[in-house]
């Protein structure tokens, strides 16, 4: 006995190929009935009709769905199928919001954009204001300068407040208002950036607990987005993780034979950045290996890394630095 089925029908055939029994879905449950049956078939589970036939003939062999001679679908079946398909597709679209990779990506990119906007605003602002206030320090506490500007009544008052010389030229009234608005807006953009970063930290720590513990949530998020998602990051070899974010240098290396990059996004980590030039590659390689392990723990839901695990990696990094206190000799090298 063999049991064939699809979402709309189940058929039982004996050894001679003769149909013994057949159960057809008769539209019970309407579109929702079709949705449930399609879902079962997609997950390789038995439909209610197939289960019922199997109960009657427990010795039957269940064949893969849709194989063998099944009766044709009717126009009615097809109408149900199309409506159910649309409902399933819409549910699938709505379900995309449950994918933390997608949410992390939007949050990360929004943060990058706002960070860029914030930097552009602040640099324009200090240059603009610095034109009127020649002894203003343009590089010190730009945000504090913006805040003071946003709250000032006029340029003379601002100069007194900041302890600077009285300006030689004063802006026109409307010009001053625009300048002050620009200062207030720069402060506002900075506040938005802070909120974005806080949200990104929270999401990254939930989605990538181990990687966040190891390299911090911001860098963890950047690695994840750069790799195209947590599952893909977990599948990458750690040699790729090491140069993730340095694609330009990496492909230039393959094409022209220029020296390969030692680090990509990972350069942002103090263990790499603050190491002397000649051990950065070694440190980045070690760190990339641990990042791969952390990403795999996160993707396959293992026990997250603890502070001790991270301290162990740090000890290893410090050992690498200690083992190479001086740059290698150039003799005989490249």
């Amino acid at each position: 006995m063999r049991l064939f089925h699809d979402w709309y029908v189940a058929v039982l055939v004996n050894e001679d190929g003769v149909q013994v029994d057949r159960l057809r879905w008769t539209g019970g449950g309407g579109v929702q009935g079709a949705v449930e049956r399609l879902e079962r078939v997609a997950q390789a589970r038995l439909t209610p009709e197939a289960a019922q036939l199997l109960e009657r003939f427990p010795e039957a062999n269940v064949e893969p769905v849709g194989e063998g001679e099944l009766p044709e679908v009717t126009a009615e079946d097809l109408a149900f199928l199309d409506q159910a398909a649309l409902r399933l597709a819409e549910r699938g679209v709505a379900d995309a919001a449950g994918d933390l990779d997608r949410r992390l990506e939007h949050l990360h990119r929004a943060m990058e954009e706002v960070r860029q906007a914030s930097n552009v605003r602040l640099s324009r602002l200090v240059e603009w204001l610095g034109l009127f206030l020649p002894d203003l320090d343009l590089d010190k506490d730009r945000l504090g300068t913006a805040r003071a500007l946003g709250e000032a009544d006029d340029l003379g008052g601002l100069a007194r407040h900041l302890g600077l010389q009285t300006p030689l030229h004063l802006p026109a009234r409307s010009e001053w208002r625009s300048l002050r608005d620009h200062g207030a807006a720069a402060v506002d953009v900075q506040a938005r950036l802070d909120r974005l970063e806080a949200a990104l930290r929270t999401l990254a720590e939930a989605h990538l607990p181990s990687l966040s513990a190891l390299v911090g949530p911001m860098l963890a998020a950047r690695l994840c987005v750069g790799a195209g998602g947590r599952a893909r990051l977990a599948k990458l070899p750690s040699s790729t993780v090491q140069v993730l974010g340095a694609e330009k240098a990496f492909f230039a290396h393959l094409k022209t034979g220029s020296p390969p990059p030692k680090h990509g996004f990972l350069f942002a980590h103090p263990w790499v950045m603050r190491s002397p030039l000649w051990v950065r590659g070694k440190v980045a390689r070690t760190l990339a290996g641990r990042c791969s392990i952390a990403a795999r723990l996160d993707a396959y839901e293992g026990t997250p890394m603890t502070a001790e695990d991270v301290a162990e990696v740090e000890a290893k990094v410090l050992a690498i630095r200690a083992a190479h206190p001086r740059p290698p000799s150039r003799k005989g090298g490249r």
Partner: protein, 237 residues
């Protein structure tokens, strides 16, 4: 988006499709609406939609083919399978054809991206017979039930590695004997081969799967580094 009215464009390929010098046109199954900003042309009892060959590989194939263009398209009432449906540009024209004059055609449009499905589901509300599926072309078990009858026309445009083997297994599983399949091949998606090497490799793969290669259309100029393979599945012996 123009709405010029007057005489129908070009010469007829079939009831549903006409062809002018620059582009094919399809008889709209949903008159009054554009899908992607294409030009519309009013006619007495409906509307023609211009099928932009720069945005659709099937349309550019229709222009470039050395044989009869109409053989590349399904017929009204056909059930067809479209893998890699994207945002529904080409799908909408195929839907125009298979649902021409209220024919009970079905286009099962599979795509992996929820973003694309969003556009396809919107389109589907206005176009009954267009069936969107959120699924992976490489995993047909998950959506094969959506296509209870074999398709008479299969099109694939997935820009993934192993495009040819995805296509041959789709044809084996879903294409009716005597049906026609179109494979749009993005040369860059299969690593480590140049265009000519890939072409030969794919030709072998298609032949091994028992498909008869009718034509390979180079879409250069419309779509860079894309080849359109036109195959037929032999009728049941």
């Amino acid at each position: 988006m123009g709405r010029a009215s007057g005489k129908p464009p070009g010469r007829p390929l079939s009831d549903a499709v006409r062809m002018d010098v620059h582009a094919p046109w399809t008889w709209s199954a949903n008159p009054g609406a554009t899908v992607y900003g294409e030009t519309l042309r009013k006619a007495k009892q409906g509307e023609w939609r211009r099928w932009d060959p720069r945005r659709s590989k099937v349309a550019s194939g229709l222009l470039r083919t050395s044989g009869a263009a109409e053989r590349l398209l399904p017929a009204p009432g056909d059930h067809v399978l479209y893998l890699g449906a994207g945002h529904g540009t080409t799908v909408s024209h195929i839907h125009d054809v298979v649902c021409h004059g209220g024919a009970p055609g079905r286009v099962v449009a599979v795509d992996l991206s929820p973003r694309c499905l969003r556009d396809l589901t919107r389109l589907s509300h206005a176009r009954p017979g267009l069936v969107p599926v959120l699924g992976d072309a490489r995993r047909p078990e998950a959506w094969r039930a959506w296509l209870p009858r074999r398709a008479s026309w299969v099109f694939q445009d997935v820009a993934q590695a192993h495009q040819a083997s995805i296509f041959t297994s789709a044809c084996e599983r879903f294409l009716v004997p005597g049906g026609r399949g179109l494979l749009s091949l993005k040369v860059e998606s299969d690593r480590g081969t140049d265009a000519d090497g890939l072409r030969v490799k794919v030709e072998h793969e298609l032949a091994d799967a028992g498909l008869i290669l009718e034509e390979v259309i180079d879409l250069e100029g419309f779509e860079d580094k894309h080849l359109l393979f036109v195959v037929g599945r032999p009728p049941r012996a």
